[in-house]
Amino acid sequence: MSSREAILSAVKKNQPVESELPELNFPFTSVNLKDTFIRTLTAIGGRVMDVTSWNEIVDNIKATYSTTSQVVNTIQELSADFGSFQRPSNPHDLKEVTVAIMKGDFGVAENGAIWLTDEAMGNQVLPYICEHLVLVINAENIIPTLHEAYERIGNSTYTLGTFLAGPSKTADIEQSLVLGAHGPKSLLVFMITS
């Protein structure tokens, strides 16, 4: 008997009587989703800017990062200023990227996380290998909790989907928080209302 069969038959024999799955019904009571989102993401090391135009985003990016930065952009609306990303065949070619710019699908107020999938990433390594990450989300796309998030994701398919909440971090040395463990050292999020 293969291990597969052995495991499955042992599980079948030993598992208890099946119980019901619970209903998932959790009311959320925050009055202002945008404020909650900004507060939460700021508290975990992200920076959030409320903007009303793409020009404003361009200006802010130029003001924030040095002109010698290697910038990679995957957003069409910003391609005039930051070019548009050509998918490299080898993810290793992205190891020198300083700033990566991409779109997030939506933000979650309660935990400050932004959902994005491989489609928006250009290359899947990009949001992790860059030194600074810039995400743009539509200010209308802030939802209360993860329950609404999964309703929204529904049964869509992706290669990689992720909730990204702040810059990479660690507190492994005596519980002191350090931003920039192995991934980006900073996260800047533009919430655009147009």
Binding site: S3, V11, I44, Q124, L146, T159, A165, P167, S168
Partner: protein
């Protein structure tokens, strides 16, 4: 019976020789527990979430066979290669075979308690493969040839000055520099090199969804993602109990996990891997290693609900004051103390006693495992199987005798008070471990029984 010198209480004794360090360890972990409380209090539906998480996990245990089959089918349709391992040995062999096929002798690995349980690092190193742990805390203990002392905070027992010294030796950082920011930056540079040459990346798994055939890995450092996205081969290792039925159930678990673990609203990365990317090979090893056997036990099956958040460690007064290594198992703390006896009752017969049974673990557990009750039940199993040490045996036998003879019980009170007053020194024997680190109290003048008779009002 375990070898003398290696029981939890003996190892804890060693840890307790450095009083200052014990206090520091205790406070650091309590600080994490307080952060957990603050985070939990911010969620008005916290208790409902715990209840829902517990019910989902109960449902999983009762239908595990079908969920596993469903997961396998969907994951395979997504292009993930599924392997089944009956035990630790088979798990290690499967992983090794994949690495060998690619003719590679260097791999990178993010945090996975399952691979600790299976002793994967040691196994691969014996086959001539270099394993680099990429989680900062795990890398620290790896450089020091130690194992993690906590499932979420692997090097919580290390002081920054010691880490500075370790990095000075291994990474060439300046002698005496113990600044966490500086040391983290040094580790980042050191590990970046390994990420860039890692062609096989191993990760653990937090949740696997039967409905969609995807799996979720949660980290703060981004080490799992960076490793996997640069590598040609991703191997994910998972215990069979990590399956959940539907994608929407992730909403419940991800709201609970990081808040219970460190008080964060969510980990920085919660990555959902549904398919291998173009040109990449994705494997998943499903491991039993005693889980299906435990499933049959009404008393102990609940431990399989664990989502490895570590909250029970941080709250446990015994863990905080004895340190993770005193548990002599891959998974320490309260949950380790109820898991380990299931693997080997004889070797781990001391662990169910490494607890005050205060129940704090049960109160913080996000999936409502009855940890302290299981500890108590394991104690009964240990005694029944005759694995208790002599002093415990004698004391228990004697107590049982006294308690079942009312007259002797009455006399024993009088005798006890007389001894404490007149011959306190005879309570300081090896049989009375309570006396260690403590003074015996002054004996009361009168028994509770006679006090009660005098003072009771109708």
């Amino acid at each position: 019976m375990i070898k003398t010198g290696n029981t939890h209480s003996e190892l804890a004794d060693k840890f307790n020789r450095d009083k200052k360090r014990v206090e520091w360890h205790d406070e650091t972990l309590w600080f994490v527990r307080v952060k957990r409380d603050k985070a939990a209090l911010q969620i008005p539906v916290w208790e409902q979430l715990r209840e829902a998480a517990s019910q989902i996990k109960n449902n999983v245990l009762g239908n595990l066979h079908n969920y596993l089959v469903q997961f396998e089918k969907n994951a395979q349709a997504n292009g993930i290669r599924i392997h089944w391992a009956a035990d630790a040995k088979e798990h290690n062999e499967i992983v090794h075979a994949i690495i060998k096929k690619h003719a590679i002798n260097h791999i990178i690995k993010s945090k996975s308690m399952l691979t600790e349980e299976c002793g994967l690092n040691e196994y691969l190193e014996n086959q001539g493969i270099e394993v680099i742990d990429t989680d900062l805390g795990e890398r620290i203990v790896q450089l020091a040839h130690e194992s993690p002392s906590h499932i979420v905070l692997p090097c919580i027992h290390w002081k920054k000055e010691e880490i500075g010294q370790l990095f000075h030796q291994h990474l060439g950082t300046p002698h005496g520099n113990a600044d966490p920011q500086f040391l983290t930056a040094a580790a980042r540079t050191h590990l970046r090199e390994h990420f860039l040459k890692g062609r096989v990346a191993i990760t653990g798994v937090n949740f696997a969804v039967a409905e969609t055939g995807e799996f979720v890995v949660c980290t703060n450092e981004g080490n799992a993602d960076l490793g996997v996205q640069l590598a040609d081969v991703h191997i994910a290792c998972m215990g069979i109990e990590k399956i959940i039925p539907q994608r929407k159930h992730l909403g419940v678990f991800l709201r609970l996990l990081a808040r219970s673990a460190t008080g964060q609203p969510i980990t920085t990365y919660s990555s959902h891997f549904q398919k291998p990317r173009a040109g990449q090979e994705m494997h998943m090893v499903l491991v039993d290693n005693g889980r299906s056997k435990r499933l049959a036990s009404d008393d102990f099956r609940n431990a399989l609900k664990c989502i490895r958040c570590g909250a029970c460690f941080n709250t446990c007064p015994v863990y905080r004051r004895s340190g993770g290594h005193s548990y002599h198992t891959a998974i320490a703390g309260p949950i380790g103390s109820i898991l380990a006896p299931g693997f080997d009752l004889k070797k781990n017969s001391d662990l169910p006693f490494a607890s005050t049974l205060c129940g704090s673990c049960t109160n913080v557990c996000p999936v409502k495992i009855d940890i302290h009750q299981q500890l108590f039940k394991w104690r009964q199993a240990v005694v029944k199987e005759g694995h208790v040490d002599l002093s415990k045996k004698v004391v228990l036998k004697f107590t049982g005798f006294v308690l079942s003879h009312p007259l002797i019980y009455k006399l024993s009170g009088t005798l006890g008070r007389w001894v404490l007053r007149n011959l306190p020194v005879i309570t300081n024997t090896r049989l009375n471990t309570w006396y260690k680190q403590r003074e015996m109290p002054p004996a009361p003048k009168q028994s509770f029984n006679s006090w009660y008779k005098q003072n009771k009002r109708v």
